[in-house]
């Protein structure tokens, strides 16, 4: 009798568990539909269009073009080079700033945060042109430096790779600082104190305790910055002076040149696939999960 009751109980529990599963699935359904409609279908459509030639039939011409013209390879190299450099400089400038902000009182940290966020809320186009005005040959920086005798002739800051990097690092910095700062704030300060009480120097305590704990935030920031950089258009177009041609710019000029979606889609597909490959390799080299569990 008891056994039977237990069995009934078990059956009811299983049923309940199953019902719960269905409920959860039902609750995620709107999200799944959204992902399907907003991401999967458009990307599938992108892949499909990249195989449509100019005459509307199935063709590899959009990919052949990328192999035949050396410009495409160079553009992809430029795109990844600029994105990696921007990400690197963002980490170089962003990490110390986020660390500083995490160590001071909340009040002052909030004031610093306003300093990070105000440029973040300013239009990207405005900030890009502001850099152009500041850094061009007869711009504010060069003319002041030449007038003061600091420079004998103006430095070429813009219309090249360095100008593009200055603009992009400035625009991307908040994307690195925000997740990193949130992560650093969450690190228990007692951990570092414990390390010190066990005799670690401040440097040692930072590198063995604080830094590893901040890696998840750093990785999240690096990833956001890197992926956003890959699709950048305005800043390299304005500050690069035509010398920094990134994939997004070629996508736009291909629509104009070929009057076909395919010529642009193929570039998008290659950019997407190469990016996913890079992230896959990166995730093999640096185990994201490992750091995720440690925090």
């Amino acid at each position: 009798m008891v056994e039977l009751e237990q069995n009934l109980n078990q059956a009811a529990l299983t049923q309940l568990a199953r019902r719960e599963h269905y409920t959860f699935f039902g609750l995620t359904l709107p999200y799944l539909v959204l992902v399907g409609a907003m991401i999967i279908i458009p990307i599938g459509w992108l892949f499909f269009l990249s195989f449509v030639g100019r005459d509307g039939s199935f063709s590899f011409e959009n990919y052949e073009r990328m192999i035949n013209s050396k410009a495409y390879l160079r553009i992809f190299i430029t795109t990844f080079k600029i994105s990696i450099l921007t990400t690197f400089f963002c980490a170089l400038f962003g990490y110390p700033l986020a660390y500083f902000m995490s160590q001071i009182s909340r009040k002052w940290a909030n004031i610093c945060m306003i300093g990070v966020l105000i440029p973040f809320w300013t239009s990207l186009l405005v900030r890009t042109y502001a850099w152009l005005v500041l850094l061009q040959k007869k711009g504010l920086v060069n003319s002041v430096a030449v007038d003061l005798g600091l420079l004998s002739e103006p430095i070429k800051f813009v219309h090249n790779t360095s100008g593009t990097l200055i603009g992009m690092v400035h625009i991307m910095l908040p994307f690195l600082i925000l997740p990193l700062y949130a992560n650093m704030r969450a690190i228990d300060p007692h951990c570092v104190k414990a390390a010190s009480s066990l005799g670690a120097t401040p440097t040692r305590a930072f590198w063995t305790v604080f830094f590893p704990l901040s890696i998840p935030g750093l990785l999240a920031g690096l990833l956001i910055v890197f992926v956003l950089c890959l699709g950048f258009y305005v800043t390299p177009a304005v500050l690069g002076g035509g010398k920094v041609i990134m994939a997004a710019m070629k996508i736009s000029s291909n629509i104009e040149l070929y009057f076909s979606w395919g010529a642009a889609s193929a570039l998008g597909v290659v950019l997407l696939v190469v990016t996913m490959l890079i992230l896959l390799i990166a995730s093999k080299l640096v185990s994201f999960d490992q750091f995720g569990q440690r925090s």
Binding site: R65, S69, K70, A71, R74, I75, T78, Q136, K137, K138, G139, K156, H159, A237, G241, G242, K243, I245, K250, S252, S253, I255, E256, L257, Y258, F259, W261
Partner: protein, 353 residues
């Protein structure tokens, strides 16, 4: 307090609803939307042509800027309805027409009987004539700047930074003129991959001196205004406007490559008939004469000259004035129809080297 808030909301809602229904009604009947290139150019068009012509017909014309024939393509292919008429270079219209995204213009409605020869096509009703020239900074070179394309490409005789267009249009012609090809032979030489490579090699030879590849007329005018480069290729009218604005810039008609701009209609616009009538109105010489007061782009309608609608001193500043035109070559859109994609890819390859 709450009731006041609700009252306000109701008023705003009612007002916006009223406005919305009013604007859709007017859009259907007597409103046209026209797009052009912005800046000094569109300002001249707006004050000289678009608004006076609209007033004469008793219709409303709304203006916006756009990014060229690719925007027309995007609009037509995606079924969006954003504008009824666009202003475009002859080459842009020709390629759009070949792609089947434009309405054929009805020349029984649009009167082009007084147009200069060749200044209209199936898909483009010519409105003004402009030139690509080599402009120099008079602070750097005084009056003795590059007065020919050979000078522009001579970095020893004229040391200094240069800017060229990030797109192939009219840059290869300039390079070949610099390489010693006669202006009547330019398109014969360019009619092969070797000819295109020859022009590109000429540009390669001065590439270290090219500081900027420009993408818009507003940009190359600004480059000269700011003294960012010492010389650049670009549109004559933009330089004239910049000069009035205080820029130290000059150019010689001997570098001129003449081209023309006109109006086209995207395929499938609802207001096609009205758009056609409006283009017909804009072809009248008095509008073209008025437009030319704002920017130095010459009229396509020769009645402007025959009826003396323009002062002689102003007429002499136009690229199409006989005294200026005789030095220049004329851009051929049929070459672009045949070679644009090949030349453009090679040009990008050269730029990214």
């Amino acid at each position: 307090m709450k009731s006041i808030f609700m009252f306000k909301t109701a008023v705003i809602a009612a007002a916006s609803f009223g406005l919305a229904s009013f604007s859709t009604a007017s859009l259907a009947e007597d409103t046209l939307r026209i797009v052009s290139w912005g800046g000094a150019y569109q300002k001249g068009q707006s004050v000289g042509i678009f608004q006076p012509a609209a007033q004469a017909m008793g219709i409303t014309v709304k203006e916006d800027t756009y990014g060229g024939i690719s925007d027309v393509k995007l609009m037509v292919k995606s079924g969006a309805d954003k504008f009824d008429i666009f202003s475009s270079g002859a080459g842009g219209c020709a390629s759009g027409g070949a792609e089947g995204i434009l309405e054929k213009l009805d020349y029984s409605v649009i009167d082009v009987s007084n147009h200069l020869p060749g200044m209209y096509s199936d898909y483009c009703a010519g409105a003004d004539i402009f030139s690509v020239v080599a402009a120099w900074n008079t602070e750097t070179y005084g009056d003795n700047g590059p007065r020919s394309w050979a000078d522009f490409f001579d970095v020893e005789k004229f040391p200094g930074t240069r800017a060229m267009r990030a797109k192939v249009d009219s840059q290869l012609e300039a390079a070949l003129l610099a390489d010693g090809v006669a202006k009547e032979d330019i398109y014969k030489v360019l009619d092969s991959e070797e000819g295109i490579d020859r022009a590109l090699d000429k540009i390669r030879s001065i590439k270290p001196h090219i500081a900027v590849w420009w993408t818009s007329g507003a940009q190359h005018a600004q480059l000269m205004k700011d003294g960012e480069v010492d010389m650049t290729t670009g549109w004559n009218g933009r330089f004239d406007v910049a000069k009035l604005d205080g820029a130290k810039v000059s150019y010689d008609w001997k570098t001129g490559i003449m081209d023309w701009e006109g109006y086209g209609i995207p395929k499938g616009v609802k207001n096609k008939d009205l758009a056609m009538k409006y283009i017909a109105e804009m072809m009248k010489p008095e509008y073209m004469a008025e437009f030319a007061k704002y920017i130095t782009y010459g009229p396509t309608n020769k009645l402007v000259y025959e009826l003396n609608l323009m002062e002689d001193s102003r007429a002499r500043q136009m690229p199409s004035h006989p005294d200026n035109a005789k030095h220049q070559m004329t851009l051929r859109t049929d070459w672009y129809a045949k070679w644009r994609t090949i030349a453009a890819e090679k040009y990008t390859e050269m730029m990214t080297e």
